[in-house]
Amino acid sequence: MAQIELDLAHAYKPNPQVETDYALLPLKMSFRDGGAYALLGPSGCGKTTMLNIMSGLVVPSQGTVKFDGVDVTRSSPQERNIAQVFQFPVIYDTMTVAQNLAFPLKNRQVPADQIRKRVGQIAEMLDMSHQLDMRAAGLSADQKQKISLGRGLVRSDVSAVLFDEPLTVIDPHLKWQLRRKLKQIHHELKLTLIYVTHDQVEALTFADEVVVMTRGKAVQVGSAEALFERPAHTFVGHFIGSPGMNFLPAQAGGGVLTVQGQAVQVPQGLAVPEGALKLGIRPEYLQVSAVAEPGTLAAVVRQVQDVGTYQMVTCDAVGVVLKLRLTPQAQAPQVGAQVFLHVLGPHTCFYKNEELVA
């Protein structure tokens, strides 16, 4: 187990000039020993590159990787004592399930009785005890992936276990089960777990801290609550949440906020930064009034959808589409009706150049 510190950048091609040449832009980050982290971002954002740099499969083109303060930038995965599980199941075709699970231990000359004990534990944890003597090649994709997970977890002394979208091929109902298992394992073994995914639900339920990435940049590191309440970057607001945060371009000055030429009165006690802004309001926090109040903006209801667990109302405010979520019991406004939306409230975030300012 180890604290992992990154201070690096990576480009797959030589001599990177512009930002787009980089797979990972210069970043500084540290992962606490024993923490459960998720790297969250869309495809191609650099999360797998970051994972492979940590495991030692990729050497960063500049900067260092430190484990407990020791520079391991050029060390092999074996020297780092890292375990990693990949997106698609990797199994050794000619071996049985038990031999597959034992392989990482056998390669490290662990005594046979210890191997047997450990393989037994892992198999039990993954509900595979009855399959230990089966040939791995004959199993289904999710069974194979369970073997891959098992091989990642079988060594109890690893610095960290890295997961690269490990549940992609797994059935949804099993996904929940396995994710709970991983969480449980994390509590029991106190391993450092780093989990790459593009699924926010997966990231937010698995990790204590989520690293949100886009275009080779880590834009925010924080708990699920922080990412939801105070997205540090408009990308985080947009990416986290379903639907994502509403953004409203505005101009503030002298206690008045102007949205597309329409003035919004700033409620008392609310500090609004000056200049060109972007307001960010979560659909969950966007309140509706029938009459104009301080902090509201006039809008027309365009669509009301009942999604089962909530109702989604789509409004048009001076040409900007705003979405809000209502409980299934709430009385939804009529389509075509004029409503007033509380765009300035306690949960409203303010952005300048896509970065959170207040």
Binding site: N52, S55, G56, L57, S76, P77, Q78, I82, A83, Q84, F86, Q87, F88, V90, Y92, D93, T94, M95, T96, F103, P104, N107, R108, D133, M134, R135, A137, G138, S148, R151, G152
Partner: protein
């Protein structure tokens, strides 16, 4: 499945017809001609006598043929024993990507582009003591090498010629098999701390199984039917040292015009190849699946 769920439609047979016709004219009819010859004694085009299995019985007692068959089996097994490991080793040492990979691929494939009789001629000259590079060098080194005089030298020269000619085929097939292994397998092996040998034993070899099966069958069949190269190189000699089955058969059919025995043996020859391929195929199929019965128990 319940057959009543699907309407019966026999029109699809028409779609199979072209293939049936092609196969009939290209394989079945010629084969039946051979079957026809094998059960008759053809004295002249007008006079023929039905002899039943007499030719088959005669062929089975033919000592010369036993010798040729034995030589053939030894030769084909030697070909497999040398070419398959050598081909795999070659494929493993070939560069995987970039211009070097393309260059090496072309270089390796070069010998496959040479016609059989030219290969024979090349080696015939190459091995000559007076003007051949190989023969002359060996002579100069004090080794009394002569593929025309010494049966052992002749046998090994034919073997080495075949290895030179056909190992690239095995290498190309193995190379294709290696390239189809996803990177994640190598990455996982690095994470699992696998040695180079373990990577070969547990990832590369199992993943190459399918292409290696093709390579083994192709090389077995081809070497079992080898004709042109030894014919050009040694003419089957010295003595009968390099007279393999095809050449023996040709001598019988074309040289002595014994059509009946030649046809009878052709059929036996065909069945031997079929049988050995069947055995090889099933043996290799079972290699990777040895635990299967256990899994279902």
């Amino acid at each position: 499945m319940n057959p009543t769920e699907k309407p019966v439609n026999q029109k699809a047979w028409w779609l199979v017809l072209p293939v049936l016709l092609c196969v009939a004219f290209s394989a079945i009819l010629p084969l039946m001609t051979v079957v026809n010859y094998s059960v008759q004694d053809i004295i002249s085009p007008e006079r023929r006598v039905f002899v039943g299995t007499e030719w088959f019985a005669a062929v089975m007692r033919d000592e010369e043929l036993h010798g040729a068959l034995w030589r053939q089996l030894q030769f084909s097994l030697a070909v497999l024993a040398v070419e398959i490991p050598l081909g795999i080793a070659l494929a493993l040492s070939m560069p995987a990507q970039g211009w070097k990979s393309s260059a090496v691929l072309v270089l390796v494939a070069l010998s496959l582009l040479i016609p059989w009789n030219v290969v024979g001629t090349i080696w015939q000259i190459y091995g000559r003591a007076d003007i051949g590079l190989l023969g002359h060098t060996l002579q100069a080194l004090g080794f009394d090498y002569s593929y025309t005089g010494d049966p052992v030298h002749a046998w090994f020269t034919v073997l080495i010629m075949d290895v030179w000619h056909w190992t690239p085929l095995v290498a190309l097939l193995a190379f294709a098999g290696l390239r189809s292994i996803p990177d994640a397998y190598y990455q996982a092996a690095r994470i699992d701390g696998a040695s180079k040998f373990a990577v070969f034993r547990y990832i590369q070899l199992p993943k190459m199984r399918e292409v290696l099966m093709i390579a083994v069958l192709l090389r077995f069949m081809d070497s079992f039917m080898i004709y042109t190269e030894p014919f050009v190189l040694t003419g089957g000699g010295p003595g009968t040292a390099t007279t393999f089955l095809s050449q023996y058969l040709t001598q019988k059919a074309v040289g002595q015009f014994d059509l009946g025995p030649a046809a009878a043996f052709s059929l036996i020859y065909f069945l031997i190849i079929l049988l050995l391929c069947f055995v090889l195929y099933n043996w290799m199929q079972s290699l990777g699946t040895a635990h299967k019965e256990h899994a279902h128990a």
